[in-house]
Subunit: 272 residues, 4 copies
C-alpha cells in the first residue's frame, strides 16, 4: 500500500514590484517571490478531496495584496508577514517564503538602472573598398517611476487600454549608430552617447516610447557630431497595475506586476 | 535637422493556444505571434501626438479575438487574416505578422506530448559502504485538453479562482525514483516507468495536480517492483482563459493564454 | 572559532557524447555529467593545503577516459563505474555522480533527430497592394554519425584543423522559404519540405555544411513547386574529438565533447 | 536550375578576454566576437569544392592570435584589424566583424565586478512554533586578474592540469546565511556581509577557491554577529589560457578563452 511522503505545494515566480513614494525620491522594490506550503493534504492526493488545498492562485493574489501595506526595503519582514498569514489558514502547517530581489541602481529621484546585461557593441564591415563602422549599447535596462504618459491613441473594438497621464516606464534599451568619420577616441564617443541617452531618459517627460526615443536620438546626434544615424530598439517592459479593488481594498497605485511576455516592441531610426 | 527613418511598432511574444474540438479528437494550436506595424506616425515621435499609434495592447487583444473564429491548422491563413485586419486600421500602411508554432505530438484523442526538453536521468552516490541509485525523467511536457478538474478548495478573502469541473492541464513533468535493488535492465525499467506515467496522465481523470500525481506514482510502483519510492515535481503550466466577452463576443472557451510565470508548483513523494 | 560544515567539490556540466558502433546501426549517447566529491579537505579550506583536493579538471578528463570503455546505454552502470573510480582516490570519502541524457530519436542506421525545440513558422506581410508569405522550420536538431566530410580547404598561419574525410555532423536547422503562389494545403506543403530536408540530410553524403545545405535546398525546390526561394541557417554544433592519447590510451574515435560556443555559422539562400 | 543567392559563413560566439597589464592597474576586455565572411564559394555549395572556404576554426584562432597584439579598449580598431586581415585572405570579398563587450566595474587595481545578475535574497520559514530566517546574495560576479593560485594538488593518471602560482579567478558568487537573532536593520546587515565578501575577495591571496571561500566566510562571521552559519556556492568560471605557441607566437599569458561549461563547482558551509 502506497503512502504519501514529503510534500508541499505553492506558487513560484510571483513577480511583484512596488514604488515607495517618499519625500524627494521614490524607492523601488522588484521581487520574485515563491510560496511553498505544507499541510494536511493527504486526502487531496489520494481521493481528490481539495478542502485543504489553498489554491496557488490565491497565494499569488495574497502576495500582491499584502505588498501594498507590508512591503518595505526589509525583505525579511515581508517574508515574515507572508509566512504568518499563510500559517493562519486552516490546515496549513508549514510555510516557506523565498524572496529574490533584483538590484537596481539609483539615478536621480525617480530613476533607476537595473540588471547588468549591458554591453558595448561595435560592428566593422568592409568589402575591400569601403569600411563601415557602427557602435552601440545593448541591454541597458532603465526604469522611471514617473515622467511618461500614453494617451490620445486611436480606439477600436479591441481597445480596452485606459489613457495614462503618468505611468511607470521601463525598457531594456538597445541602440546602435553609424559613424560618418571615426571619432579620435571611440570610448569617449561611446560614453558621450550613453550619457546623453540616460540624461534624456531620466529628465525628459515623454508622451510615448516613440517620443522618448526621438528625444534620446536627438540628444545623441547633438552631442556626438561623428554620428550620422542612430537606431533604437525599445522593448516596453510592461509593469501592469495589479487591481487590488477586486479584494475590497483601496488601490494606491503602487503595486505592479512586471510581465515578460508579451511586450511592446518599438524600433526606429533617426538620421541627420 | 533630424529626420525619422525606418520605423515600426508592435507586440512581440503574444502567446495564444487554441483547442480545436472535433469529432473523436481534439486538435491543438500553440502559437507565439508577433505583430509589427508601420504607418504615418512621424508626429508620434516628434511631438508626442498618438492619434495614429494603435496601442500594442490592442494588437494583443486582436490576436486572441480573431483566433476564436479564424485560427485553424493553416498558419498562413491566420497570418493573412491578421495582416488584413491591421491594414484596415486608419494610418497603418504596412503589417508583418510572424507566427511560430510549438509542435506537439498526439497521444490519444485529447492528449499531447510537447517540446523536446525530455531527458533521462540517473544518480549514483556512494561512500564506500553503500551505493544508492536513483533514476528519473526530466522535462517531459504533457498536456490534455480534458479530464482534469480543480474545485472544492477553501476560499478566503484573496480567492477569486472559479471552480473548474473540466480544464486543460499541462505540466513539464519531472520524476525520479530510488531502486531498492537494481533492475536487470535499467533501460527497460525506465521505459516501463515512463509508459505508466504517460498512460495514467492521459487516461485517468484527476481532481487536482496532486491527485493526478498520486495516480501516476501508484501506477509506477505497481509496474516496477524494484522501485521503492518516487518523487514528482509537477509545475502547473497555466493556460488562462482569455476573456473574450469584454469585446462583445461569445466566449466559446477554446482560446487560452499560456503564461510562463508565475506557475503552480507541486512536489511530493510516494513510498511503498 | 569557525568550523567547516558540509562541503563538496566537483565538476558540473561535463558534456560527453559517444557513438556506439554496431552491426547495421550506430547508437548514440549524449550526456551531461556532474561529479561531486566530499573528503578530508578541511586543510584546503583553512590553510590552503591542496594535497587532498583532486582537481575538477581531472574529474572532467576521467569522465571522457572512462566513457570509451564503460559508457553503454545503461546510465546507472556508468554512474557506478565513475562512483567507484573516485572512491578509489585517496582522501575521497563520498561521491555523487549525476547524469542527464538528451533523448534523440532514431532516423535510419546512423541518423538522429534530437531535442524538441522544433517549431513551424509562417510570416505574412502586406502593404495593401501586395501580400508576401513565407513559411519555415526553426530549431530542427539533426545529427548523423557518418556521411559528412570537410577537407581541401585553404590553410593559412592560423589553421590547425585537420582534414576530415568522415565526421559526425550536427546542426540545429532553420529554414524558411517564400511561396510564389500559396499551396492549396499549407500544412501538406510544409510537411513535404520538411520530409525532403530530412531525407536529404540523412541519406546524402556531403563535403561541407554548405554542400549539405545546397543538396537539401534543391530537394525542397524539386518537391514543392510553389516555393521559389529558400534560406537556410545551419549552425554547426561542433562535437570535438576528446584526445584520449594524452592519457596513454588508444583513441577509438568514439568519444566526443559537444561544445555550445563558438559555433560555425552558415547561412545562404537558394533561388530557382 | 537552382542558383545560389546571398550567402556568408563564419564563426559566432567566439569568447575572448584579455588582461591589459599597466602601471598600477590592470585593464580587462571581455568580448564575444562574430566573424562573417562572404566570397567566391559557389563551388563549395554546388559541388563540394572547399578550396575557397576558410575554416571557421581558423577564424576562431585568428581572433585569439590577433587579440594579443591588437586588442585594446578601442573595439572599433580591433574590429578593423580583423576585417582587414580576413579581406587579405584569397577569395574573401566581404567581411563583417561584430563585437559585444561585457561591461565590468572596476574594484581596486586588479579587481572587477561584472554582470548585473546580482540579487538580494531572503527566506523565511515557519511551522507555527519557530521561524527561521536566511538572507543572501545570488549571482554576484567577481573577477581578479591576480592573487589566486592552485597548486600542490594530487595527481593521478588523468591529471594534466599544471600547477598555477598566480592565476585569474572569476566566479558567480552565491552566499546565504542564517540569523540566530534578526538584525535591527536587515539591509545594513546584508550590506555589511556583502562588503566583507568583496573586500576579502579582492584583497586576500588564496590557494584555491575553497581557501578563498573560507576567508570570505570568516570575514562575514567576524563582521555580523547575528549570523551563525554561512553557505557559499562558488562556481569557478574558468578562463582557459589560449595556447598561442601553436601558431609560432610568443604567448604573453594575457589572452584567455572563457568557457561556460563545464565548470568547477565548489559548495561549503562555515559555522561558528
Amino acid at each position: 500500500m502506497a503512502r504519501l511522503g514529503e510534500n508541499r505545494w505553492g506558487k513560484t515566480d510571483v513577480r511583484v514590484s512596488k514604488v515607495h513614494h517618499a519625500d524627494g525620491e521614490d524607492g523601488l522594490s522588484d521581487l520574485t517571490v515563491q510560496i511553498l506550503l505544507s499541510g494536511e493534504v493527504e486526502l487531496a492526493h489520494t481521493v481528490g478531496d481539495n478542502t485543504a488545498v489553498l489554491p496557488t492562485d490565491t497565494m499569488r493574489n495574497t502576495v500582491y495584496c499584502l505588498a501594498q501595506e507590508h512591503l518595505t526595503r526589509d525583505l525579511e519582514a515581508f517574508g515574515a508577514v507572508l509566512c504568518d498569514h499563510f500559517l493562519s489558514r486552516a490546515q496549513v502547517t508549514g510555510v516557506t517564503v523565498s524572496i529574490s530581489e533584483q538590484i537596481w541602481g539609483r539615478v536621480g529621484p525617480t530613476g533607476f538602472i537595473g540588471g547588468g546585461t549591458e554591453r558595448r557593441t561595435a560592428r566593422v564591415s568592409g568589402d575591400g573598398e569601403r569600411t563601415r563602422t557602427r557602435a552601440g549599447i545593448e541591454g541597458l535596462v532603465v526604469l522611471k517611476t514617473t515622467g511618461s504618459a500614453f494617451s490620445g491613441f486611436p480606439r477600436d473594438e479591441y481597445t480596452v487600454l485606459p489613457d495614462a497621464d503618468d505611468r511607470l516606464l521601463a525598457t531594456s534599451l538597445t541602440a546602435n549608430w553609424s559613424y560618418s568619420t571615426l571619432p579620435v577616441d571611440t570610448s569617449v564617443a561611446w560614453s558621450s552617447a550613453r550619457d546623453n541617452i540616460l540624461g534624456c531618459f531620466f529628465s525628459n517627460w515623454s508622451a510615448s516610447v516613440q517620443h522618448q526615443g526621438w528625444l534620446m536620438a536627438n540628444a545623441v546626434l547633438d552631442a556626438v557630431p561623428e554620428i550620422d544615424e542612430i537606431e533604437f530598439h525599445l522593448p516596453n517592459q510592461h509593469h501592469l497595475p495589479f487591481d487590488l479593488t477586486r479584494f475590497g481594498m483601496v488601490d494606491q497605485g503602487t503595486v505592479f506586476q512586471p510581465v515578460s511576455e508579451p511586450y511592446g516592441d518599438i524600433k526606429f531610426t533617426v538620421t541627420r
